[in-house]
Symmetry: C2
Subunit: 432 residues, 2 copies
């Protein structure tokens, strides 16, 4: 039983009640935000020790004896490469640490392929058309990068175990203008999906018409579990292993950053790839930079010494985030009981809950929420070009607001969902 | 009177003496380096206070109330923009602060023009040929950027007041494939030249066949005086003013960084340009990054509050660098007295002394020095493609070595110059 089963008079009466409910919220002049995947102040406080780490008389020497204050060190200091290897699930030797943003590393990687090709292939700017596979719902900033270079973004449906591999295999094998795929393989943005072993295996073994096809493996949430119990921590197969095993060792580039581990704007970013790819990247990177901020690398490596320290630190994040995610689950389950037509994710990690609104209502829900003082991510943002053909996906980001604010925001959200659904059903009945 | 006036027997005897002198140096197993434009440890120590600035309980709020720890702020925090405006000789509103490397900002700027064009112009990758003007001697890393994008680097002779503007004007006006020019307008690398008002004016008013011609204004040494006396501090006209006055307001992009002010690897970099250019840059940059490291921006802005604080800080650098530059002058003047055929710069600021060796001897001098345990910048490095047609320019970088080491290195250098010159004269006489 749900709204769809209600009579038109009952639905109309419900709509009047909902209007009243939203008016009451509006009267409070709310200014709440569930749009942004930002850590809260409380989470940022966890890394205060890193920002106040250095004391007068500090030597700033890396473990290999480099003065981290001076120029040099394109690939980063070894202790930072080792630390980032934890997040990238790779060997320190395959890791380059550079800058504060993995998004920038991805943009630059696309830029290099566009300008110069990949390992001797034709520079991609020479093609009339380059296409890119985009599992949806996905991360809008990924899609913007490939769109900005004029690529055609092709949506690929996400299943519960990752992208629809039948579709990926069919397209990659048949069209040489398809040059790669965006992947957030663990606790994906926004669906919270972790790719199954089978999906990772099929990606590694993918038959591609383009010999310079590249898997962009944005492991942004690799250690971002919400639960300490191992059985509630998703596990991800290593794409590097699969690419090596399949004889396509240069097919992937992994990315990650400390942005949601330490300080969002002042983390360190890194990538890992095959030795051949890393050599090529370093050759090009060496023209654009003398090296990353080694002082910030040193701060990170001293603050988070190893995988255990990272896990302990992430557990503190989880303790702050978990109640917020559990509140989302509780509020949606209660607030939308008996409504029908909706579903949402219950992720074990990451930063988002994906809400699937009744088809054709997502834009209206976001608009109603906005009018009531609650900012949500734009409906459609999780699709290339902002175009969700079902007008259904809404990304809920519960990390930033304090829990009291989140509670009110979720009440408003549920009211907006119900209102938009009731409206849409009534309009449907009027027009059919 | 000089070596050229000596008889062949005298020259031969001299060569034997010089061989002996260099052998004696070699016996000390020297490992000295005058190649790298790096600050010394002593200079880096001047900014220790910046790296240990934050104390437990710090709020990390910018003056506008932004939590510098979180994401956001593409153009940087206002106090950092104001600080970098001092180095860029511009208004804070025209400044974007981003990353730790102005070289990267330049590479990215070239990359944007290559990929997307400039303010609606044809993307430069679509042209069969793009050319770029390179005042020589100049900075090898500049030349490498344009070379890496396949541009043809065209050498332009440097005069005592800047690039040969007759040549620049002739080329820019006649060839639409010439898209820009590299400039280090103050205390240039390596010549130490500051562009005269007349040169800056002529650059601003330049008639260009390419309507998207761009002046890359790398003001890396804008506050890097060696002397405190105002009359020994070079002054530079503002290129922005000249471009505005000439009706070409979008022709320039200025770059600078804190790398040689605070911490070489962990400074902040910035660029300034016209409001139209800045808007375009931000639109593109916003796809590649969520913003620079605002924590490092805050560190810088609190450590160096304003132009006076910068000047006071640079005066401390000068106190360390000045004796080294004066030692270079003294050692070269003494060591090369009566040799002839050589000249060198006596800059008021910057990081380098340009040595003009007798034609055809620079490579040999660098080789001899290397064999004797003194590393110099590769001969030719100051020319595009590493190709100095006169084999004459050598860049001396006195900043890094302690003064005792510099003294020995300069003795070796003078010995190598004399040796190479004597050899070359003898070979000349044998072959003509």
């Amino acid at each position: 039983m749900g709204y769809a089963d209600l009579s038109t008079p009952d639905l109309t009466a419900l709509k009047v009640d909902l209007e009243d409910e939203l008016s009451q919220h509006k009267a409070h002049n709310l200014a709440l935000n569930m749009a942004r995947g930002k850590p809260s102040s409380e989470q940022l406080d966890l890394s205060e020790g890193m920002l106040t780490l250095f004391k007068p008389g500090e030597t700033f020497l890396s473990e290999e004896g480099t003065d981290c204050r001076n120029y040099g060190g394109l690939e980063g200091i070894m202790e930072a490469r080792r630390l980032m290897a934890v997040l990238l699930d790779d060997e320190p030797e395959n890791v380059i640490v550079c800058g504060n943003s993995s998004l920038t590393l991805m943009y630059n990687a696309i830029g290099r392929f566009y300008d110069f090709g990949a390992r001797g292939s034709t520079p991609w700017h020479r093609y009339d058309k380059v296409k890119w596979l985009c599992p949806v719902p996905g991360y809008d900033r990924h899609f913007l990068i490939t769109e900005s270079f004029g690529f055609e973004n092709i949506p690929i449906p996400m299943n519960e175990d990752g992208p629809d591999m039948d579709e990926v295999e069919r397209l990659a094998a048949s069209d040489a203008s398809i040059k790669g795929i965006w992947c957030v393989p663990k606790y994906s943005n926004p669906g919270g999906v972790t790719y199954s072993d089978e999906v990772v295996r099929r990606l590694g073994y993918l038959r591609c018409a383009a010999h310079d096809f590249r898997i962009f493996w944005d492991n942004a949430y690799s250690v971002h579990h919400l639960y300490d119990e191992p059985e509630r921590q998703d596990q991800l197969l290593d794409i590097a292993d699969m690419c090596k095993a399949s004889g396509n060792p240069n097919r992937y580039v992994k990315f990650s950053s400390m942005s949601k581990v330490t300080i969002a704007g002042a983390g360190i970013a890194a990538m890992a790839s095959s030795p051949d790819n890393i050599a090529e990247i370093k050759e090009r990177m060496g023209i654009a930079t003398i090296g990353g901020d080694k002082i910030n690398q040193l701060r990170h490596a001293r603050f988070l010494k190893d995988a255990d320290a990272v896990a302990a630190h992430m557990s503190k994040h989880a303790a702050i985030l978990r109640p917020k995610f559990e509140l989302v689950e509780q509020k949606l389950a209660e607030g939308l009981r008996g409504v029908g037509g909706c579903s949402w994710s219950r992720p074990n990690g990451g930063y988002f809950v994906l809400f699937n609104a009744p088809k054709g209502t997502a834009k209206r829900i976001v608009q109603l929420a906005h009018q009531t003082g609650v900012v949500l991510t734009e409906a459609g943002a999780t699709w290339p070009g902002g175009n969700d053909p079902y007008d259904s996906d809404i990304r809920i980001a519960p990390s930033l607001p304090p829990i009291e604010e989140l509670e009110v925001a979720l009440d408003v959200f549920c009211g907006c969902v119900k209102m938009a659904y009731a409206e849409s059903l009534l309009i449907d009945r009027l027009t059919h």
